[in-house]
Amino acid sequence: MRALILGHALDPTANAAAAALHQRGGWQVIRHDIAGLAGARWHQRLAADGVITTRIETADGDIGACDVVLNRLGSAQALAFPGWSPVDRAYGQAEWLALLLSWLIALGGRVIGAPAGSELCGPANRPWLWMAAAARAGLVVHPGGATTSIRQFPPPRGSAERPELLAAAASAGPGDRATGHAAAVVAQCELLLVGDAVFGGVDPGPAVRAAALALAAAQRTPLLALTLAQAVDDPQWRFVAADAAPVVAEGAPLAALADLLQARAA
């Protein structure tokens, strides 16, 4: 079987997954970063009825249709286009992003780390989108908020700063400012989801585990790290944040990732 692992040469998850597949045997593992992809010869054909084929000729042969892909690609802005004007460079990056998205979308379920929206390895949701998605999936969301003026809309008493709930922090004038905030936390834990497996130092209970898996399924990402928290006088584990491109580089989570790659390739 052929696995294509996309990502930076120093990406720990990409490196660990490649090593794990080599160790299992029976795999041809091909590595490429975004610059390597941009150096290949591309032919993508889309027929009127929707049949799409992509041939990507590299030194490793045609990598357009491997059995499985672990995608850890970052931004197309990593493509430098030396000697190009800033306008042309931005255009080149936008066009490469479009082509890479199209190819990865067409591969469907063979990609772990599938693109979402305009993100190559998504979903890279803003915190508010994750909160809404988590609530839809059945997780209880840790209370939080943001205000562009603490003078006009002050945060609740006793709340803690949570700057990431505001995309751009700013002073709102003398004695005023914009800020994000959240209810104070007494305990916090991390969950790591790899396929159907849930790893973490704390067991938040079956209902939370099921809702976490439902969130991953709704976001179409088999890899998901969740941050949960308990507020004062509340034993309930509540959703705080998520990361759809977590580091999975050792132990049982890495073995689960190798299993997942094997299952997707089958």
Partner: protein, 308 residues
């Protein structure tokens, strides 16, 4: 109450506001040029989202808003945030506007009512061939397409299809041009380029607003009618009807892309087939409303107000 957000003088926003006024639908306008003077609060609690917005007056509870139509611009390009002569831009005002607009974008994503359109739903516009896969999945044809950085493949594609055009595949707008055999292809080796079989027929710009479909047939001799008049071609437009199954596919495609409103570029061939070129998630519908007399803005205003 409807919340309109953007530059009120921009035609699509202006028409929608005028329609709300004409229909007597309550509304407020967040003028992005005044963003530094508006305030917004969002909270997520056990009951979900709550919050308020201040637009030059008392706070408006977000719970009283039925729908939002937003056409927000990059804050940095607005005149009040540019340098004036030798004076640098007012950094504090720029940061205040960025904080407001950033949080407003978050509101657009999580507001429980009707939003035209949510920023995350704009994603398909970043990859036209990726969007084309959604188009064909909904039963609409797209032109035969090749994206390549191999000049020999371009020549073979032209030999296969005859007349072919080329254009961008990203959200960066490009003018559609016909590729003439013999033209230098050196640039193709530097960047993969999209070529498509030229489809003959009549362009039909279709706007979907909720469950409503407005199709406008465009008569133009230009390869790209959007730039026809600039190139000396006359453009005429009139309202037309789509076959019901094509209209239904346009509605289903719009929903599948997470959009409430879309501008879909179709072409009807001489033998009656329909091809779909792309879906615009932030359509400047006003041009088509004014040229073809389509009641798009009033339909949009009713939808946002929750009025049938």
């Amino acid at each position: 109450m409807i919340l309109f957000a953007g530059i009120p003088s921009e035609s699509p926003i202006a028409l929608a506001i005028a329609a709300a006024e004409q229909l007597g639908l309550p509304h407020v306008v967040l003028n992005q040029r005044h963003a530094a003077h508006c305030q917004l609060r969002l909270d997520w609690g056990d009951a979900g989202l709550s919050g308020a917005i201040t637009i030059g007056g008392s706070p408006i509870d977000l719970g009283s808003i039925t729908g939002i139509y937003a056409r927000m611009n990059d804050v940095g390009v607005l005149p009040e945030h540019r340098a004036r002569g030798r004076a640098p831009p007012d950094a504090a005002a720029l940061h205040r506007a960025q904080a407001l607009c950033g949080l407003f974008d978050d509101l657009l994503e999580v507001f429980p009512g009707c939003v035209v359109n949510r920023p995350s739903a704009m994603g398909s516009n970043m990859s036209k061939p990726g969007q084309a896969q959604a188009i064909t999945a909904h039963g609409l044809k797209t032109p035969s397409t090749l994206i390549t950085n191999d000049s020999e493949a371009v020549r073979a594609f032209q030999a296969e299809h005859g007349r072919i055009i080329y254009k961008s595949i990203s959200a960066v707008r490009s003018i559609v041009h016909e590729w003439q055999p013999g033209t230098d292809l050196a640039a193709v080796a530097r960047l993969p380029t999209q070529f498509q079989a030229m489809v003959p027929g009549v362009n039909i710009r279709t706007h979907v607003v909720g469950d409503a479909v407005f199709a406008s047939a465009i008569a133009s001799d230009a390869i790209d009618y959007r730039y026809g008049e600039r190139q000396g071609h006359e453009t005429q437009m009139q309202a037309t009807e789509l076959p019901p199954e094509i209209a239904e596919r346009c509605i289903a495609l719009t929903r599948a892309l997470g959009l409430v409103m879309s501008g879909i570029d179709l072409k009807r061939t001489p033998d009656g087939e329909f091809y779909c070129f792309e879906v615009n998630p932030s359509p400047a519908y006003s041009y088509f409303e004014e040229m073809a007399g389509q009641p798009i803005s009033s339909t949009l205003a009713r939808l946002l107000a929750g009025v049938t």
